[in-house]
Amino acid sequence: MDFSFSEEQTLLRNTIQSFIQDNYDFDKRQAIVKSEEGMKQENWKQFAELGLLGLPFSEEDGGLNFGSVETMIVAEEFGKGLVVEPYIQTVVTCGGFLRRASASIKEKYIPGIISGEDIWAFAYAEPQGRYNLNDLTTTATLDGDHYIINGYKSVVSGGPWANKFIVSVRTSGDQRDSDGISVLIVDKNSEGLSIRDYPTVDGSRASEITLENVSVSKDELIGEEGKGAELIELIVDETIAAICSEAIGAMKVLNDATVEYCKTRKQFGQPIGKFQVLQHRMVDMFMQYEQSVSMTYMVNLKLDEEYAERRKAASGAKVQIAKAAKFIGQSAVQLHGGMGMTDELNVGHYFKRLSMIENSYGNIDHHLKKYSSAG
């Protein structure tokens, strides 16, 4: 057993840390969030130059062939900077699908990700489905050599920035069956696709997507028709591992900021950090953080295990991270007093991001149920 990072991994971490330092201090981040586009293309180019966009892809596909630990490092450091550019959506989630697609799909699409030309988003959630990935009313029917897609996708994270979507659709079966789900690549410019973009409370952007008789070639199918559910669940678990990593980065910043603030903020003639009740709260924040880091390592190391093991790892990590996210976010605001309530201070922004991570890809109740049903 060894929980240390290799030299290469440490180098990767340092690279991202210095990117954040140079390009992503809080003011710069806020300027990006408030800009018309809501992300910065130059940053995306830098990600490409640094090789980050090719991280998980095989060397054959032009990537660096790194694993989940490297992804964890990137996501964690991005979490510290509250990076809004859709790295996880494009590289981890959509990249995850593409890595497992046919040779022709890989060839067609992976270079565009690695070079930074294309940004991708995963359109899976539907209003009626809550967190159930299999609850799909969006349908695709084969018409000759094309699928015709009809349906509606909600709160597609990073949607406004994407030019390509991976869409989960029902090709057969009943609304909630796990059989009959397929995964299709849909270009944003497709006829019949309309999109409504909006900001999200954590400074990111998302979209509502309506698909009306959108026609895509059957070559755009990832995996086998009707057999997409398993693949989707796997990719979502990998995504969960990445957002847990992002979360621990954000938690770390909040914990450090809170400790620092309590050392310097004086009331009643002493630093408020001298009050034992605040000390204990910060100790609890620290313990929650450490447990979250541990669960994040755990899930990232277990992504390749057999189903039940992976299911429990991902859901277990998500439950721990969601609990810690809430406790640390709320406590950081509380201990900063009025300052914690302001938009001006970074603390509230970390709190908000963490609060959205809580229910991304399923909230605590959802994952407890998944955990229980995994046996």
Binding site: A125, P127, Q128, G129, R130, Y131, N132, D135, S154, V155, S157, Q175, R176, R196, Y198, P199, T200, V201, D202, A206, E208, K266, Q267, F268, G269, F275, V277, L278, K326, Q330, V333, Q334, G337, G338, G340, M341, T342, D343, E344, G348, F351, K352, S355, M356, N359, N363, D365, L368, K369
Partner: protein, 403 residues
């Protein structure tokens, strides 16, 4: 021991209900429901308060000689409960329940004549200038300085977190008039016209991101502001005593009626939320248990409140025990907000900056969703302000438990 109200109280309750039905219009309800921080613009609040004034119900806690409603303590409780139950706008407390009691108790006759009628009629909007950047929980360390220049004070310094100062005509301030060994002994209570030259109000945007003019708080700057000597309340350097008196006046508001309303809203949301298979979130036992557990906590609050209220009716003094109300009331309120965010699932993500703005597009998700996450964020304030919950627990441990 017995439960239930007397017949005349039930009659009063029905009067209050029909008043609310008539006066709290659908328009007002709609506007208020668009707020992310509980405030819905000056006009709405003033309009509401003026109708209360016309009914004679603006000031349940004032003595009748000043225009108080003349309620019995039971009626007060019923009145407050009914208002909260319906989600009616809360009367803005700064004039009505903060500065007015101080003026009544310690102000001069001129001050009473000048200020109280306008407060009662909602002609003048007040804000509270206590906190400073360096002085929050430790209010007595405040630095904003007022130098006695004979016929006026010269005020220099700043106040922060000033709720709705952007609407205010007047501000009541605690200011430092002398440097004493005990910081409490050099503080005075001053009334300041917000139109005085040298005052600047800067908005502070909070986590709900309500844009101007709907921001909740501000920082107020004073630069060589001249305040007539006659705007001093009581004696110079006695301001701390008056402020403490005010704090006592503030204790003992009932939280449970508003919290029950929160439960009702939460159930409505859960009933409106599909979890598939034709089921709603109310059919999900995990969630239902949380709602019910919360409801039980509220009932526990309600009966603490009823016990306090009945002690008050019996003429007993209620002391620091009432810190229980603030502490538990705000914590349960925050939990309700968390559950609302939880209920709406992914609809908690979309952000609408100006929820009051007229937009032609349909809402993203259900129309009530846009305010829910910002309300949760904004609600974090409730355990910070009005004596943070850490401070409340300090009070209970010291003053009640004797630790």
């Amino acid at each position: 021991m017995q439960l239930g109200f007397k017949e005349e109280d039930i009659k009063f309750r029905d009067e209050v209900r029909s008043f609310i039905k008539e006066t709290f219009t659908d328009d007002m309800r709609k506007t208020l429901s668009l707020s992310k921080n509980g405030h819905a613009g000056k006009d709405l609040h003033v309009k509401w308060q003026k109708s209360l004034y016309e009914r004679g119900w603006m000031a349940p806690n004032w003595p009748e000689q000043y225009g108080g409603a003349g309620f019995t303590s039971t009626q007060k409780y019923i009145f407050e409960s009914e208002m909260a139950r319906e989600g009616a706008p809360r009367t803005i407390p700064f004039g009505l329940s903060m500065v007015a009691p101080v003026i009544m108790e310690f102000g001069s006759q001129e001050q009473k004549d000048k200020f109280l009628p306008d407060i009662l009629e909602s002609n003048v909007w007040w804000c509270q200038g206590y906190s400073e950047p360096g002085s929050g929980s430790d209010l007595a360390s405040l630095q904003c300085k007022a130098e006695n220049q004979g016929d006026h004070y010269l005020v220099n310094g700043t106040k922060i977190w000033t709720t709705m100062a952007q609407y205010a005509d007047w501000i009541f301030c605690l200011v430092r008039t002398s440097k004493t060994e005990k910081p409490q002994e050099g503080i005075s209570f001053l009334l300041i016209d917000m139109k005085s030259p040298g005052i600047e109000v800067r908005p502070l945007i909070t986590l709900d991101n309500s844009p101007e003019p709907h921001q909740e708080v501000n920082q107020v700057f004073f630069e060589d502001v001249k305040v007539p000597i006659e705007n001093l309340i009581g004696e110079e350097n006695k301001g701390w005593t008056y402020a403490k008196y005010l704090l006592e006046f503030e204790r003992g508001t009932a939280y449970s009626p508003g919290l029950y309303r929160g439960i009702k809203n939460l159930k409505d949301i859960a009933r409106d939320t599909s979890i598939g298979d034709g089921l709603t979130l109310l059919d999900d036992n995990d969630f239902l248990n949380k709602i019910n557990e919360c409801e039980i906590q509220i009932q526990a609050m309600e009966f603490v409140e009823l016990r306090i209220f009945s002690a008050l009716s019996a003429g007993q003094r209620v002391g620091p025990e009432s810190s229980i109300l603030k502490t538990r009331g705000t914590e349960i309120g925050q939990y309700l907000q968390e559950l609302a965010v939880e209920a709406i699932g992914y609809w908690s993500h979309p952000f609408v900056e100006d929820t009051f703005a007229n937009v032609n597009e349909p809402s993203i998700g259900p129309d009530y969703a846009a305010t829910i996450t910002p309300e949760y964020y904004n609600g974090r304030k409730t355990t910070i302000y009005a004596g943070s919950n850490e401070i409340q627990r300090n009070i209970i441990s010291k003053a009640v438990l004797g630790l």
